[in-house]
Structure formats: C-alpha cells, structure tokens
C-alpha cells in the first residue's frame, strides 16, 4: 500500500519534468520547450523582405507556406548573425502560424524540473529581460528559457 503511494509520487514528479531543446545564439545558451518546436532546419538563404527591421531576415518557403525568419540574436539586442550553412532555423508555431528563428546551432535536449527554473535576475538590457522567462543551470551553464510570445508578438505588430 505504502509502496504504491510512493510510486505515484514519483510519477507525479516525473510528469512535471519538461523537455527543452537548448541552442546557442550569439554564444549564449537558450532553450525552448520541445513542444513549441515544429522542426529544425539547416539555414539556407532567405528572400529579403524590403523595409524589414534588422531582426527580420526575410521569408522562407516551408513546404509551400511563406514563413518569416527572425534573427534571434538581433531580436535579443545582440549583434546580428552572419547567417551561414552552419546555422539552424528553429521553426516554431506562434499564434498558430509557423515562424522561423535563426540560431547559431542546436545543442541538446534537456529535461527540466520546473522547480529548478529561476527567475531572471534584473539586468540592464530590457530587451533581454522581456524575452526571457527564466533561467536554469545545466551542466554549469546558464540556459535562458525564451518567452516565445514576447519574442514574436502578433504578426501585425512585428513590422510597423
């Protein structure tokens, strides 16, 4: 009887763990919940959107759909990425629409216990603060959890 209860407890704990995909942007480690990611593609040159802000790289053909590609680094207020074949595009779904995010490279899948997520300590860069919903320590590295909704606001607002 008691053993059973214990096992249940463990199961509950286990269920609370979420899997995240970690990747690097401008040398810093970030991650997104695995359920937020549709696919990860190798970078290939995109079509430039005229008059687009610096963090919008352009648009890409994803199986017949036109999807915008954002430079995460520029979005976070870091330097613009010189995109090359080594980079990856993480395709996520925001507001029901696919959106591509350019990252340097994908690292690994990590399992995170929500209890281990720490609040973002206040820092100067407001850009970064807005886009990060928490941080965790993984293998002695600080991994930043991206707040996707903040990074990609509703499409209308993306470009003034």
């Amino acid at each position: 009887m008691q053993a059973e209860v214990k096992q249940n407890d463990q199961e509950v704990k286990h269920a609370e763990h979420s899997e995240f995909v970690s990747f690097t942007v401008a040398g810093q480690a970030f991650c997104l919940k695995i359920t937020q990611i549709r696919e990860i593609r190798r970078w290939s040159p995109v079509t430039i959107l005229p008059h687009a802000p610096a963090d919008v790289l352009g648009v890409m053909n994803l199986r017949g759909a036109v999807i915008p590609i954002y430079d995460l680094s520029a979005r976070f207020g870091l330097q613009q990425t010189e995109a090359s074949e080594r980079n990856v595009v993480i395709v996520v779904s925001v507001h029901g629409k696919p959106v591509g995010l350019l990252a340097e490279s994908v690292s690994e899948i990590i399992s995170i216990n929500p209890d281990d997520i720490q609040d973002t300590p206040p820092v100067d860069s407001r850009n970064t603060m807005e886009y990060i919903q928490g941080i965790i320590s993984h293998d002695d590295t600080m991994v930043r959890i991206i707040n996707l909704d903040a990074v990609i606001s509703a499409p209308e607002q993306v470009m003034p």
Partner: protein
Amino acid sequence: MSGSIQDTFFEECEELLEATDEGLTAIEGGDHNPEVVNAIFRAVHSIKGGAGAFGLDDLVAFAHRFETVFDEVRSNRLELDEKLVQLLLRSSDHLSALVEAARDGGQIDEAHHDTLLAALDEYTPDEEEDLTFEPMGLGGPAPMMDLGDLGAAPAAPQEETYRIRFQPLKEMYGTGNEPFFLFQALRDMGDLAVTLDENELPGFDTMDMDESYLAWDLVLVTKEPRSVVEAVFEFVEGLCELSIAGDGDAEAEANALAALDAMFTAPPAAGSADGEAAAAPFEPPVPAPEPEAKPAAAEEKASAPKAESGKQEQRGGPKPTLRVELERVDRLINAVGELIINHSMLAQQIANLNVSDTRDVETELEGFKNLARDIQEGVMAIRAQPVKPLFQRMARIVREASAATGKTCKLVTEGENTEVDKTVIERLSDPLTHILRNAVDHGVEKPEDRTAAGKQTTGEIRLSASHRSGSVCIEIRDDGAGVNRPRVKQIAIEKGLIPENAELTDGEIDNLLFAPGFSTAKEISNLSGRGVGMDVVKNAVTGLGGRINISSAPGKGSTFTIILPLTLAVMDGMVVSVADQTMVVPITSIVETMRGSDDMINSLGADGTLLSIRGNFVPICDVARALGLYRESDRQAGVYLLVETETGQRCALAVDDIHDQRQVVIKSLDGVCGEIPGVAAATILGDGKIAMILDPESIIAASPTAAAFDTERRLSNAS
C-alpha cells in the same frame, strides 16, 4: 437545437433572401409573372418555417405578414402597384435585417419594424389578428402539451376506460390510413381490447371491393387524457364513423365530437383550445379561381411528368450542385499551386541536367504543364461565383440611400451572372457600397434639379460586371451631375493636396477623389461620408490586385471602373532581378520593357533621372532604392520596365535584369509580416525560393524622383 442546423438555416436564409430580392427586382421591372410571385411566396414561407423551428418569433411574425401579402397577390386579390412594390422592397430589406439580427444578435429598428408591419397590415385581410405561431402538431395546442408529457407520469393519473366504435368509410382507404396502426397507437397507451364487427360484410358475390364493411369496437383502459386518445384519430376524422365514450360518461361523446368537428370545420367561435388553432388560418381560404385551374394543371403534370421536368431545366432551372466546405477547395487550390511550382522545379532540374537530348522529356513536361493548368482552372472555377447576390445587396443599398437623401434612384444591373472569385466578391461589398452611396448622395441630383436639367426625376445607377481579357470589369455609372471639378480642386487646395496654382487635367482632378485625405465628409450628409473617403475604396480595390478609375462628364454623370484579376491565386508576372533578389512584376501593369543605354538617361536636378523614350521623358524609378535594398555593384546598363499608373503617369522601373514571363502562384503575406510598401504579395519560384511580387504603383509613390517629376510637371503646366 443543434447549432449546425441553425447555421444551415441562416445560410439558407441568405439564399432565400436573394431569391426574394431577385423576384422583387423582377416585379419592380414590370415582370408580374405568377411564377415570380410564387417563388417569392415560397422563399418567405421557407424563412418563416425555419424561423419557427428556432423560435425566432419576430422573424416568424414579420415573414408571416409579408407572406400573407404575397398570398393575396398570387390569389389576384391584390394589385401590384408601384406603392405596394416599394413597400415589399422595403419589407424585403427589413426581413434581411431581421435575419441578420437573429443571427448576429443585433438590434432591429423597432419603429421601422412597426411601421412596416402596419403598412403590410393594410394590405391583408382583417382575420389576421391572432398570429401566434402555435407549435401544434396534433389536434391543437392542448393535446400537444399532453403529448409532451407522454414519458413523464402526470400528477395523479386516473385510469379511465374508453369505449370506442370505429367504422371507416370507404374514403379512408384511399388515404393510406391503416386501422391496425391506429389500434397499435392506442395499445401503446394502455390495455386495449379489439373486437371486429363484420356483421355488415355481405356475401362474397355481392361485395363491392371499394366499399367499406368492417367496423371495430375497442375498449381502451388508459391513464392518458381523452385528448390524446382523440388525437390518435385525428387523421381519419371525417373518414370514419367514430365514437369515443368515456367510462360512464355519456356527455363526453358529444363533447369530443364537437371539439373534433371544430378543428376541421368550425369558425373561430367554436371550442376553446381547438378554436384557437382553427382561427389562425395561415393560408386564407382557397380562392375561387384556383381549384378550377388546378385540376387541369395537375392532369397535365400527371400525364407528362418527364416533359415537365425537362421544360423546367430549359427554363434555366437550378443545375445540380454540391455543397463543399470552402476549406477543402482552398486545400485543393494550394495543392494545385504546389503542382505548378513543382512543374517549374522539374523543368529547371531537367534543364540543369547534362543530357544532350531532352526533347522527349520536354514534350511530356509540356503535357504535365497543360494538365496542371487545366486542373488549376477547374479548381479556380469552383471558387468562382456569380456577382448576382452581391448586386442584389447593392439594390438594397441604393434604396436605403435614396430614402435617406430624399432622392429617387433605381439601380439597373447588368452581367449579374459574371463569375468572380468568392473572396473578391466578399471584399468588393464594402467598396461597392461606398461608391453606390456616393453615387446617390453626390452623383444623382435632387428630383427638382433633375427636372430643371431636363432629366427624368428618377436617377439611374447602372452596375455592370463583365469579363474583359482575363480580368473582371465592374462598372458603376450614374446619370447625375458629374464630378464638381472646381469644388474638388478647391477642396484639394484647401487640404494642401495640390499647390494653389496647380493646373490639372480633368482626369487628374477626378482622380483627386481617391487621394488620401480628400474626404469631403464634413460638409456632406452622414450617409456616404462617415469620415471614409474614396481612398479607402481605392485601397480595397488595389488590395485585391485591381485598379479603379473614374471618368466623369459634367451634367451627364460619372463612371467608376474597377478592373480586377479573375482569381486571387495566380497571375502572369515578369520575373526580374533586383539587387540580387528575384522578384515578380505583374504583367498587367507593364507597358513595355527595354534595355536603356547611357545616352538615354538624363539627369534632372541633383538626384532625379529621366529616361528618354522616343523623344518623351519618363522618370526613372530605381526599384532597389525604392525598396531600400542595397546593391553591391553599381547599376549596370539598366533594364527598364515601362509602367503606367492609374493617373496615366508613366514611369520606368529600373531593374537589374529581366528573366522570363510566367504564371506565378500568389502567396499572401498577410499574417507573415505587415504591409510592405512596394510589395503586393509573394510567390514561390521554380527553385523553391520565395520571390516578392511588386506593386508598381506603390513603388512609384515611394520613389522621390517619380513623385518629384510629377509635381514639377504639374507646376510647369501651371506656369
């Protein structure tokens, strides 16, 4: 009630309202064909029937009143004069409003509602007092309620014994009523004993096969009230001799029969509950002439049913149709788009192969291409719809606008069967509404002014649709006063849209109406104004990949011409290179393409350049610059696309190279990014890359040279 059934109801209402409008428009045009009147009656009747099922009482009541008037008309008791036709048209509009209110939960104009009801009442017979739409099915409202309680036990149900004598008349056997089933229904209510009385059955040789000889004596013990027992015999009332005697209740028999009699024959004064049902004859008494005409018609139909249905088809009866979810069609359209892209990819791959003889493959590839085109056209045709419903709605707009401005206008429509992409039709509604309101408000003169000008008092607005070389042309022509050019120019100057000394051609003045910021709303009635100018109309049209033009003749009227692409999904484009990007320019806007040499380029001012083409100077607009794109190398000896804008302004779009001309699948950038000046949409090319589809108009507008040149030209004209 299931939501989807209700959705269907509202969908159906749209169609029925269209049919009503169509019929009324025909009647207004002098077509008093009985079938037209009948069709309207049926449409309104169906709206009432459906509305009743969903308890939409306002709608039911109004549709009923409306329908009753039509019934009077179709029974030749009412003359369709001008006044009545106008009332019916307004009623039809109001019916639409009621349907909308029922669907979207909006408010209706109560005063208007009551006014129309009162006006309709004047045309209907007095007996139309009690219009409660009783949900009665069987033997009036009272048994209905009992039926509802069939499952649940009544408070203190008393078992009662009914002795029933049932003797069918021979007439009953022709009606499909079967005594056995009646008994079965009785048996379900309690204990039933059936005794067949065959005493009247004659000997076999003297028997008349059509006569009815049998009778039954039934004893039913049930907790059901008498009304339910009686209801079982509802359909055979008058077709049998029936007596129902309650346990030891001699009077009951007479009462029951009296009540039943009342149901079928009695005037309103009869039995209370049943009388109410009988007092609300939705259909006034069948008129005298009809029964005479009917048998002949029925005979004809019976003798040649096939011929009849054949005739119906020839008369343009509805073709069989299939209702398909729009999403499925759109999926198909996407797939076909992919197919076309896939074809160009294949073609490119094959061209890249290092094979000496690709002729066979190319032949097959050509076949593939043609098939893909065929499929594409077929799929596009699915989305195509006639503009008729849209035009019919516009008739309503004109009526409303006329009423609001005290003018008399009629809308004449042409080419209603012209088919246009569904989305185009949907998005045309607002611009057309605005143009038509404008035409009534500003175009058509007041009746007295028209008379003074020697015109008919009723203004005519002509709305037409036609196909014109791969495009759809919608024209709105009024026979009003035309654009008041001095006034328009003055307003434009006041609003700083043009310099005070600007010398404009008539066409240029007319086009000022489309200029952003030119809304003459402030001194105009609230009807067409509402702070929205014609620039919004223009944006809506260009948003559909179309163009809008105005031409006007003082004293004679104005014409707005809207040219739209047949489909929103594909277009013919010129593939060009701009700053290492591949882009597409719509063929429709290109007048000619040329390679320019240095000596054709002339500087104007510090920055501007003009291209000389056969002695004419045309401003050059560098597409890369207009799009804010950075070009690595200096511009090579330019390649130019000569384009013409709405205002007739020409401009040479400088690009880096021209590749080929091809059909491209349009991919909207809605939801991908905001509006980009100079870009209309995107497409996917043969190599899988996305290319921007350019909007020459907005590129030119964004180009300082072209804009400056335009102003200078005006100023030079002025001096």
